[in-house]
């Protein structure tokens, strides 16, 4: 198992290096190839009526006139060894892992990512628990009650959940529960759990439900399909023939087999969300990783985009690793192999 984990970690690091190069190329190499000049890039990061001297100053400060390999080398070196940055009368130290400084607000990217992580983590984990419990439960019940009114109603709701975008369900839920009924606080009210746990919970209820509604619908449909397939397997008939209780047959035998693909998707979904739930965070004005990256993209803030991309890739890789390990727990066949 240890060798397996070491192998996966090495592969993950290599993959992150490739991701960083690809992202760097997208944001730096392609614009340059299409004729973008360092001055053209720098003009985005200075005031409205910047003088040529100010633009040249920004070019030098951001090292935009360096060869691309040098720029990438500086970025990669910063991750490993850290780097300094001129704030004017003093230099700012950015210890490793330094993902560079935001072009727009001159803040180091890595501390910004860490600052935004708790909000995204709170949102993603809470919603994940909700959608996993609700989605799998509804899927199992639907499969067991196949063809009934309950099954049809559940699948209709699931279809609606998959179809409705977050910015619709989110804004509607805010309009009804925050601004009309006043049950929950409105957008922008996220408070860290360390500051006020009650406020943290209240502010996240609507985002959790909105986000979980989308995913739970998907998981309910997947679970139902998986359960229907598994319940028709020979070993289920054998389990029943042995006289096992129906509850045991369903939970110990059928659900366990159904959970394997669910777990794979769950790992990927959670990993993706930890890299930023862009729409949910934007709709509810939660200052998480997703809101950070969408704002960075809008503002051409390349170091932040690069940092979030690597950060998100890291979580996906990590989630995959954990899922692979959990496979062994859920599916005995993996353990044997």
């Amino acid at each position: 198992m240890v060798a397996f984990i070491v192998r996966r970690v090495i592969a993950a690091v290599l993959m992150l290096a490739v991701v960083s190069m690809a992202t760097f190329a997208i944001f730096f190499l392609i614009p340059r190839a299409l004729g973008q000049t360092p001055e053209g890039m720098a003009s985005r990061y200075v005031g409205r009526d910047a003088t040529p001297e100010a633009i040249q100053g920004a070019v030098k400060r951001l090292h935009l006139d360096d060869p691309l390999l040098v720029q990438y080398g500086r970025f990669a070196k910063g991750i490993v060894a850290g780097q300094d940055y001129s704030l004017g009368p003093k230099k700012a130290e950015c210890p490793a892992p330094c993902f560079g400084f935001s072009f727009n607000n001159n803040q180091p990217v890595w501390p910004t990512l860490l600052d935004r992580l708790p909000a995204t983590l709170s949102l993603a984990v809470g919603a994940a628990v909700l959608w996993l419990v609700a989605g799998v439960s509804i899927g199992v019940i639907s499969a067991l009650k196949r063809g009934t009114l309950l099954d049809r109603a559940a699948m209709t709701v699931a279809l609606a959940g998959v179809s409705l975008p977050i910015y619709f369900t989110g804004l509607v839920s805010l309009a009804v529960f925050a601004y009309t009924l006043g049950i929950f606080p409105g957008g922008g009210s996220y408070t860290p759990i360390t500051v006020n746990p009650i406020m943290w919970f209240q502010a996240l209820v609507l985002p959790w439900i909105s986000l979980a509604f989308l995913y739970a619908a998907l998981y309910a449909r997947l679970t139902r399909a998986g359960m229907l397939e598994t319940m028709g397997e020979d070993y289920i008939r054998t389990a029943r023939a042995k006289g096992l209780k129906e509850r045991t047959v369903v939970t110990r035998h059928a659900l366990r087999a159904t959970l394997t693909p669910i777990l794979t998707i769950f790992g990927l979904d959670l990993g993706l969300l930890l890299g930023g739930a862009v729409l949910t965070e934007s709709t509810f004005s939660i200052q998480g990783i997703g809101k950070l990256v969408i704002d960075a993209i809008r503002g051409n803030d390349l170091p932040v985009v690069l940092g979030v991309t690597l950060f998100a890739a890291f979580f996906i890789v990590l989630a995959n690793l954990i899922v692979d390990i959990l496979y062994a727990v859920v599916d005995p066949r993996v353990r044997l192999s």
């Binding site: 973008q36 001055e39 053209g40 003009s43 985005r44 990061y45 200075v46 005031g47 409205r48 009526d49 910047a50 003088t51 100010a54 100053g57 920004a58 030098k60 400060r61 001129s86 704030l87 004017g88 009368p89 003093k90 700012a92 727009n104 607000n105 001159n106 803040q107 910004t112 600052d115 804004l171 805010l174 309009a175 925050a178 601004y179 009309t180 006043g182 049950i183 929950f184 606080p185 409105g186 957008g187 922008g188 009210s189 408070t191 500051v195 006020n196 009650i198 406020m199 919970f201 209240q202 209820v205 934007s282 709709t283 509810f284 004005s285 200052q287 809101k291 704002d295 051409n300």
Partner: protein, 595 residues
């Protein structure tokens, strides 16, 4: 049994959640939030006697009651909260809460607000006989929030850092342009402030500006937040925005860049030295990067007090308040400093012929080009280069295109015949493709000009490089036959020179980053601009700006679609609210909140 337990658990969870929600408030302002929620059905507060646009002409809910938390929200983040390093109009208004420039604007609604009054200075600048030296005396006893007194060298240092360094790039560089500072390298490269010859400080309370040439609107320049003092020892460069040394009624409590700013009362601010600001709320909270539609909903529900950007309600919010008379009474519809217009390139055929330009002037259906801005609520139909809130503005219309502004097609055809294209011609119109309203304006223009045979092809370019690579680059304009460019302009100070100098002066045409996109280089206009800025008498000066406006419109290269307006919402819980003409938004230094 299991089902019962699950249901009971769900019910308990719901009750618990609702209970918790009912008990709590938002961070830092629970009391206000609950009052906002209670008032949500009445549009953010108890029924108010104030009507639509009242705050445009008078102070709504006048009150000197102190206390409470004033809450702002913004869709964006600032370029910087450093008064020396910002170019956002809202921030030139907001930063006065914690910084005091030498001069500022009169705190009154209407045209009175465009007049300057001393702030850090005792009086307006004294100008030398040659017009090249401006002297300001500082009020004595003005302190920073740490209790130390403001000195003249702090003003000098503030201007040196904001105008002569590579690091602080976000603000304008007018002082670098107009001060006679030689090849001064800035205080980050040259630590000796005495080497900065553009400003002298003969004593602790006198600041003397040395100019390259006479500049009679220098008082406007020092109303820019860059003249707010900065103690050299406290300057941390681009990081200074995190802990600005305050001279205003509020000081920084905390600032998480791009997320949240909290201000609290500055105990060392003295009302006796400051006749333009108030200090009503106990604290001020600003949330950045908030969802635009949600900001509108929170305003209407009374959960926040002001949309900091002052750009007005989103389409959904606008529709909601306009259809509800009670909500509409809580709105104001001020002019912004912006003119939204088209420029015709005098260097691109056939617009090198004035009659072809006149044909466009007459053929435009201005009601159609007004619609994308939101109709009359989005702006008044424009006929001049200067806007109604610019000092020196005089209304006139050289190209009357029908009483309903839908176009005078007969006159347009006459002009086309005179320009040698009686059946019309084809040209391109450049527009920022990611700006929906401007694209819709281009489409409306296309439809209205087609009525006289002028065929427009819409060319879309990204707004990020609009000025540097496309419409602001004359070579590109000529090569791509861009006859018309759709743009907008808001001045840095509300005078004719502030508005016109960058967009109509032929000497301001640049190979890139050019805003005189029509490439109008009329010596008589250039001379008038020079004459005006050297004219000491304000009335004579304003007369000259009106003449410049007239000449620009005579060139027929400029056509205004709208003098932009916004629809801004004021919850009933907001006190002392009036629209300041200098910014087209509420005066943020006056606002208070009901307890």
């Amino acid at each position: 049994m299991r089902k019962t337990n699950v249901l009971a658990l769900a019910a308990l969870g719901t009750v618990l959640t609702m209970g918790l929600a009912a008990c709590g408030g938002t961070a830092g302002g629970g009391g206000n939030t609950s009052s906002g929620n209670n008032n949500s059905s009445t549009g953010g507060g108890d029924a108010s006697a104030a009507k639509h646009n009242d705050a445009y002409t008078k102070v709504v809910n006048p009150s000197d009651a102190k206390g409470g938390t004033l809450k702002f929200a913004l869709t964006d983040e600032p370029d910087s909260m450093d008064p020396g390093n910002t170019y956002y109009a809202w921030n030139w208004n907001f930063s006065r809460l914690y910084s005091r420039p030498l001069m500022t604007y009169t705190p009154k609604p209407g045209p009175e607000g465009l007049k300057l009054v001393p702030d850090l200075a005792e009086a307006p600048g004294e100008v030398s006989a040659d017009g090249k030296t401006w002297t300001y005396k500082l009020k004595k006893g003005i302190k920073y929030d740490d209790g130390t007194e403001v000195k003249a060298t702090d003003v000098k240092y503030a201007i040196a850092r904001s105008n002569f360094t590579d690091e602080l790039t976000d603000g304008p560089k007018y002082f670098a342009q107009y001060l006679d500072a030689g090849d001064y390298k800035g205080p980050y490269k040259d630590k000796n402030l005495d080497d900065f010859k553009g400003i002298e400080t003969p004593d602790d309370y006198t600041v003397v500006f040395k100019l390259k040439a006479p500049f009679s609107e220098f008082d406007f320049l020092v109303a820019n937040p860059q003249s707010a003092p900065v103690p050299q020892a406290k300057d941390t460069g681009v990081d200074y925005e995190k802990a600005v040394a305050s001279t205003g009624p509020y000081k920084f409590e905390s600032y998480e860049v791009g997320k949240q700013l909290n201000l609290v009362r500055n105990p060392n601010w003295d009302q006796a030295t400051d006749t333009t600001r108030k200090q009503l709320p106990d604290r001020i909270e600003v949330q950045f990067k908030q969802n635009a539609e949600d900001i509108d909903n929170r305003l209407i529900a009374g959960q926040i007090h002001v949309d900091l950007g002052g750009t007005g309600l989103q389409p959904a919010g606008r529709a909601k308040v306009v259809s509800n008379p009670q909500l509409k009474d809580s709105t104001d519809n001020p002019f912004t400093p912006f003119n939204r217009y088209a420029m015709m390139s005098t260097k691109v055929a056939p617009f090198d012929n004035i009659d072809c330009r006149k044909a466009v002037q007459y053929a435009i259906d201005k009601t159609a080009t007004q619609a994308p801005w939101g109709g009359p609520l989005g702006g008044d139909i424009g006929t001049t280069a200067m806007t109604p809130t610019t000092v020196g503005y005089k209304p006139f219309d050289l190209y009357p295109n029908g009483a309903d502004h839908k176009g005078d097609l007969a006159k347009a055809k006459e002009a086309l015949t005179a320009c040698g294209h009686p059946d019309g011609f084809s040209t391109n119109v450049a527009v920022r493709g990611d700006r929906t309203k401007e694209v819709q304006v281009a489409e409306a223009l296309q439809a209205s000009l087609a009525r006289v045979g002028i065929k427009l092809t819409i060319k879309k370019y990204p707004s990020g490089d609009w000025s540097a690579q496309y419409a602001g680059k004359p070579d590109f304009v000529h090569k791509n036959n861009l006859g018309i460019m759709i743009a907008g302009w808001g001045s840095d100070w509300p005078s004719g020179f502030g508005f016109l100098s960058q967009i109509v002066d032929g000497r301001a045409i640049k190979p890139s980053g050019n805003y005189n996109m029509m490439e109008l280089n009329d010596p008589s206009i250039n001379e008038l601009l020079d004459k005006g800025i050297q004219t000491a008498d304000a009335a004579q000066r304003n007369e000259i700006w009106a003449q410049v406006d007239q000449k620009v419109m005579e060139s027929a290269a400029f056509t205004s679609f709208v003098y932009e307006k916004t629809l801004i919402f004021r919850p009933a819980s907001l006190t002392d609210a009036y629209v300041h003409s200098a910014w087209g938004m509420y005066d943020y230094t006056w606002l208070g909140v009901k307890q």
